[in-house]
């Protein structure tokens, strides 16, 4: 029975005095037995003992209020105990997971990351988009209203041209489901944007760049499509849910992961917005066709904006990125489709007045 005995150090839980003990494992009774320095015999049931393997040896903890300790350094005895515990099913499932080793842990890490990635790229945007249908349109209006209220003060509205632009738009079928309000703002900025409540703001800077009314129709079609598709609300839902997801999953792991996650999220938002721009281009294109206006106007506008402003990128392009691809995309659609265009003298004359 030499194997089942060893010397160890015992701490009684009341003082830090190390006591040398002779410790033995009684396999029959499943107990650990030893004698304290005051002569008391101790018997610990193996299943009640807490074991922990550390660099300093195998540590045994026993008791809840007064915690007694034993430290074992004898590798042979440590092995004997380990085998005994394994045979008797004392190893916890948690320990078994830890014992899987580095390669398995690394695999688990990659698998979790992979699943999170898939959720993030496919499941979350889909769920967010579905949830947009549950949000009443009224909320889009509130959002747009407050955005406009915040900016109105800084905008110099051109009321005469605003009326002309509204007349211009009345001639068109913009496939809109809600009322669109057009506003012309005096500014050199080459920009236009749509608010979720149906307000479409066009700066005089971008009007000056235009050569033909079909370019303006292209722009209005594009912006109207943003409103029709509720892109603002979708964007909000997507980036919000993406952010929530990332911070819930990675936030607890550690701070660094959360930071990386945040950056991924803002990067991902950029690609969402690209997707929305493409959709607005495609739907805007259809609006041009439906109104029998030459769709070449759309790509002409983009090309001109690109050429004339090679020094500073116009606002419209920087917030509506990847123009090269978009021009190609429109040109391809122009080529692939049978297009019937008619003259629109009324649009033409309103456009001329807007250019004045």
């Amino acid at each position: 029975m030499m194997n089942n005995k060893t010397t160890a150090v015992f701490y009684d839980g009341n003082s830090s005095v190390p006591q040398q003990i002779e410790l033995s494992l009684n396999k029959l009774n499943a107990t650990l037995e030893f004698q304290m320095s005051d002569g008391t015999h101790c018997k610990w049931l193996v299943k009640d003992v807490f074991f922990d393997k550390r660099a300093t040896g195998l540590h045994l903890k026993y008791g809840s209020e007064v915690i007694q300790h034993i430290k074992i350094k004898d590798d042979h005895f440590i092995n004997t105990i380990h085998h005994f515990r394994r045979e008797n099913g004392h190893i916890s499932w948690y320990q078994k997971l830890l014992d899987l080793g580095f390669a398995a842990h690394f695999g688990i890490a990659l698998a979790i990351l992979g699943i999170i990635g898939l959720c993030y790229v496919y499941v979350i945007p889909w769920a967010a988009e579905q949830s947009v249908n549950l949000i009443p349109e009224e909320y889009d209006n509130k959002l747009g209203n407050s955005a406009w209220a915040g900016n109105e003060y800084f905008m110099n509205v051109d009321s005469k041209k605003t009326k002309l632009l509204n007349d211009f738009a009345k001639q068109l079928n913009l496939k809109n489901t809600k009322n669109l309000k057009f506003i012309v703002v005096k500014s050199d900025e080459i920009n236009a944007f749509a608010l979720p409540d149906g307000r479409i703001v066009v700066f005089t800077g971008i009007l000056e760049e235009m050569k033909n009314y079909n370019e303006l129709v292209g722009l209005l079609g594009h912006e109207a499509s943003h409103v029709n598709n509720r892109h603002s609300m979708k964007m909000l839902c997507r980036s919000l849910s993406g952010y929530l997801f990332i911070s819930v999953i990675l936030g607890d792991a550690n701070g660094i992961m959360a930071t990386i996650g945040d950056n991924i999220n803002s990067f991902q938002s950029l690609s969402f917005s690209r997707e929305f721009e493409r959709q607005a281009d495609a739907d805007g294109f259809k609006i041009l066709l439906a109104n029998k206006v030459n769709p070449q106007g759309m790509s002409n506008l983009f090309k001109r904006l690109k050429q004339n402003n090679f020094v500073s990128i116009p606002e419209f392009l920087s917030s509506h990125p990847v123009t090269e691809n978009r021009i190609e995309y429109i040109d391809k659609m122009v080529k692939n489709q049978k297009i019937t265009t008619i003259n629109h003298p009324q649009l033409e004359s309103l456009f001329a007045k807007l250019k004045q």
Binding site: G13, S16, T56, D252, I256, M257
Partner: protein, 319 residues
């Protein structure tokens, strides 16, 4: 046995943890936390703390953390309840159309949570830590500490933050001064003026040197924390001394950053391991207290509410 030794001795402090072991714990915890939709978090935290404490040794005997996931989960629920009550009070007064009273009360209560969280966290952590079965303990008084905290915060606010370093040192002196290790008492001797000067110097030189001095500032801070700490029992004393240099911090921090960046964060376990090894390698402890004669004096304290509140408030750095 003699309580104090005749000759001064060096005590060996070591961190023996391995990055790969800690990585395993983090990943298994991560898996369980994801699978349980976050409910496993308190248990995960307990396992991580246990590993870190168990891997730290003094004179070849390791420290222990006895805290359990169950305790921290209960604390977690209580902490949530406290925040719910806090927001409930805010909501009630807003409902009664008393928004100014509501906000005032809200902020006073919110500030009051901080000392309560710190106090609770210290009591819990200390009581659940031991070495050779001898528990640590925290003997600060919650009411006293809360009042002091309000006083310090008040001074900090009316001096527009200038009092901050004095507040930090007063708090450290109070907290660590009330820590017990069996019958041995901790003491921290920080001085607001010194700490203020150290930080001003560090801040200015870091700007002038475009950040390079930051490592030496870090070294000064570390030294200030370590060298002002001591343990006493009757005529026995243990003093601590930092041996880390600015260059050491430069190596530690840059390498840690590189590891994190190139492993996309997965190297976090190795970063923690390297940092803890660094800390214990660069702290010398010397004195004449006979560590074989410590006696149990501190009671058990299993309420983890303060620990969890601190977690919510991100107060990890105060520990």
């Amino acid at each position: 046995m003699e309580k104090s030794l005749e000759k001064r001795v060096e005590y060996a402090l070591n961190y023996n943890g391995k990055g790969s072991d800690y990585f395993g714990i983090i990943i298994v915890n991560w898996l369980l936390t994801v699978v349980t939709l976050g409910i496993y978090y308190p248990w995960a935290k307990a396992k991580q703390l246990q590993y870190i404490y168990n891997s730290t040794s003094l004179n070849d005997d390791s420290f222990e953390f006895h805290g359990t996931g169950k305790e921290m989960f209960k604390g977690f629920l209580k902490a949530i309840l406290i925040f719910l009550v806090l927001y409930g009070v805010l909501g009630l007064f807003i409902y009664l159309k008393m928004p100014i009273t509501a906000l005032l009360l809200f902020y006073v209560l919110l500030i009051a949570i901080f000392p309560i969280a710190i106090h609770g966290s210290y009591r819990y952590r200390m009581s659940r830590s031991s070495w050779r079965g001898i528990r640590f303990g925290y003997r600060g008084d919650r009411k006293e500490f809360t009042l002091l905290f309000f006083k310090w915060i008040f001074f900090t606010i009316i001096t527009l933050g200038i009092y901050g370093p004095w507040m930090a040192m007063n708090m450290r002196n109070y907290l660590l001064g009330n820590v017990r290790f069996g019958d041995v008492e901790f003491e921290y001797d920080g001085d607001g003026t010194d700490y203020f000067a150290l930080n001003i110097k560090g801040y200015l030189l870091t700007i002038v040197t475009l950040g390079i001095y930051g490592f030496w500032w870090q070294k000064d801070l570390f030294e200030y924390y370590v060298n002002n700490l001591s343990l006493t029992r009757e005529d026995g004393k243990i003093r601590f001394n930092s041996t880390a240099t600015g260059g050491d911090f430069f190596k530690l921090i840059t390498l840690n950053l590189l590891i994190l960046i190139f492993t996309l964060g997965l190297g976090y376990a190795w970063v923690v391991t390297r940092t803890l090894k660094f800390v214990f390698e660069h702290v010398e402890a010397e004195g004449n207290i006979n560590l074989d004669t410590l006696t149990q004096t501190e009671e058990n304290y299993k309420d983890a509410t303060g620990e969890d509140l601190s977690d919510f408030l991100n107060l990890d750095s105060v520990m």
